[in-house]
Amino acid sequence: MDTESLHKSTKPVVDIGVACNIMQSYNWWVEVMQMLLQETRLGNIEIGTIRAVGSALPDFNKNNVIGNSVKRLSLTDYNRTTVVKGFLDGGADYIFWLDDDTAPPNNAISRLLASGRDFIGGVYYLPAKPFNPIAYKRDHENGLYQYVYGYPEGALLQVDAIGFGCTLVHRSVYEKIRDSHTVFVRQNGSLIPVHNSQLQKPIVKKHGKPEKPYIRAGVYHEQVTQQEEGDTRQFPFYQLEHGRTEDLYFCELAESVGIKPWLDTTVACTHFKIRGAGHEDYKREQMESEGLI
């Protein structure tokens, strides 16, 4: 999918979305501030609003949403969805997602934008062996994700899923997902968006006789009801479920409307944990595995 705004003469507006933990490495702050300063001075974008949501981890109800003025016990999926609400209510063209432990290089946003892709990320690596990139191809035999490994340096690849530590998304991606799905409420109260093409009538608002979920002939059945107008929960763009991270969930929603993420390996971030891990670690690991060092 291409971006028409690529051809506009004015600079596109990019909001910054950050899912925060309680503490960040001071190295992260320095690098991120440098990157944002560089983009402001020399980049081809205009930075809109910085939407930071904390905490991304359970922290005993001390979560605080900055910019959207909401407090609530939240996990990463809820925090990201809250950031998206602010983004979609605003006027920015793109949102650039950062994690508070990934530091993108100086020209990351402008460079990702220049590709003309609507859903594209830079590369960052697992901060421990085998230092694999947080980007995945799906194994079509078992549906599980395998990390992308052994790509040529400089590659710009389409993948099946990416992390959201350095990822640029055009607003049209969110809008297309939202407009192509209907949201239902599961029996446990959680939300599930279903692609409109998969809906069969009748769509019910209430079940007369509640039944527990069951499996028949290898198919899982569960009573769901369409989300009511009075239910103020946001469209669930991100969900932590089935032991998987919320970014995989979003990538699958995007894929259901024909949009797959791209990975630009020339935008390489440092992933801070106890120590910074990055491209050099990945390269060393790869060369070791190939017997080159």
């Binding site: 051809h7 590709s115 003309g116 040529p152 400089g154 590659a155 710009l156 690849l157 020339t266 017997g291």
Partner: protein
């Protein structure tokens, strides 16, 4: 739709598609093209000729027209040399043929840097296996870098 091809490649015929073949050392392009494919021909140019060639192609690409490049993977060939596992394919990838010698070989990063220095926007840069036929009629599968860039001006 107009496509110009450099190198010994071809595309399947389709209605409305006009294809012309050109020699990278001696060519005349006529007007604008929607797609220019350079298949294994860029390494035939001396390094000093590469940027002028890319500039020339940009002049002949329609707005949002695509330049598609295939070059042998220098990384793959270099690893074969490093591991002492060279064969005819490795030597072809590095040096070309007697009548079409290669003057340069390209890693993906080097290719992408050149393309972006020449003012293109990279849309796709990935590895690809190109099926070739040797002089003896044998099928050969060569790892190449495939790069698609657009002219956005």
């Amino acid at each position: 739709m107009r496509t110009a091809i450099f190198g010994s490649m071809d595309v399947p015929p389709q209605e409305g598609l006009e294809v012309t073949h050109h020699d990278i050392h001696n060519y005349t392009l006529d007007g604008q093209y929607d797609q220019i494919i350079v298949g294994n021909a860029l390494p035939e140019l001396y390094r000093s000729q590469v940027i002028p060639f890319l500039d020339e192609m940009r002049k002949h690409l329609a707005f949002r027209g695509e330049l598609v490049l295939y070059v042998p993977s220098a990384e793959w060939a270099a690893k074969q040399v490093f591991k002492n596992e060279t064969d005819n394919l490795t030597f072809y990838m590095l040096y070309g043929e007697e009548n079409k010698p290669f003057r340069a070989c390209y890693s993906m990063l080097a290719l992408r840097t050149l393309i972006e220095r020449a003012g293109y926007i990279t849309r796709n840069a990935s590895d690809y296996i190109l099926k070739l036929q040797s002089n003896a009629g044998e099928e050969v599968f060569m790892p190449v870098h495939s790069l698609t860039a657009v002219n956005n001006e």
